[in-house]
């Protein structure tokens, strides 16, 4: 009896989960960074405009 299916299943499961966890973390970070940048851009522009109009 060969044990190859057990070995393939164990490695496949581990590598698959590592790829899912790593990719989801990277995508979530990229999304969060983009949303934060989009929100901070107008507020910085507002504060700059406010500062310029102040006497």
């Amino acid at each position: 009896m060969t044990h190859l299916p057990y070995i393939v299943a164990a490695y496949g499961m581990t590598i698959g989960l590592a790829v899912i966890l790593g990719t989801s973390a990277a995508l979530r970070l990229r999304r969060a960074r983009a949303r934060l940048a989009a929100i901070e851009r107008p507020s910085r522009a507002d504060s700059r405009a406010g500062g310029a109009s102040a006497p």
């Binding site: 009896m1 044990h3 164990a10 490695y11 581990t14 973390a25 969060a32 949303r35 934060l36 929100i39």
Partner: protein, 275 residues
Amino acid sequence: MGRNETVLNATPSLAARTGNFFHRYANPGRFLRLGARLQPWLTWPAIVLSIAGIVWGLFLSPADWQQGDSVRIMYVHVPAAWLASSGYMGLAVCSLLSLVWRHPLADLAAVEIGPVGASVTAICLATGSLWGKPMWGTWWVWDARLTSVLVLFFLYLGHIALIRAFDEPQRGYRAAAILGLAGAVDLPIIKFSVQWWNTLHQPDSITLTAAPTMSTNMLWPLLVCTVGFTFGFAAILVARLRAAVMESRVRTALAMRRGRAEAQDSEPDLSGAVA
């Protein structure tokens, strides 16, 4: 009296110093800068060492004289078991920091450790089962080591559920921190289960006090895999924690913007009332 005063004076200063040390990294901006610098130093070693360890373990290390090629499952099972326990240890430390010092990043870290820790514990149980079937002839036995790791998996799941169970996040953080600390009792039980009880699971092959009971041809790829997986675990956690801090900033910024908009909307009504 003077001696007592010295002791009393010394204790708060130590606590204050410890608190200051932890609160230095409670600043989200400082953490984001530190995390951005750390990220590549965690990610690249994780990828390189994990690939090297897996290739070494799968193709270059020898088969066991008794277990044959099944022993190769060890190179993913043991690092997963190590990370399951050390991840929960990290969760318990975050719980302590949250309960004692009200460290805001500790709460966020606890939220992020839960799913990653539960995943590696599931991998540990699944790969153990896949190793057990050809070696023991069964997928599962209610042996002390296996059962205590299953309890650890349920503790992770309980923590994930509890920390998200309340409308007010602070209440969830407190309740989950208590569970996180109480659950740490399971860690020594996992560690010593193979010594305290007669188990089907083999005793530890690597200990701090004795020479390893396995060939160095197997030990080295196992160590490389363990270090690589540990870097990977840390890299995923840091990325998730950075994302969580950024999402929290987005929520705060949106709430402030909404507050300003509501204040502006209410201004004309007020001036109209005065006029």
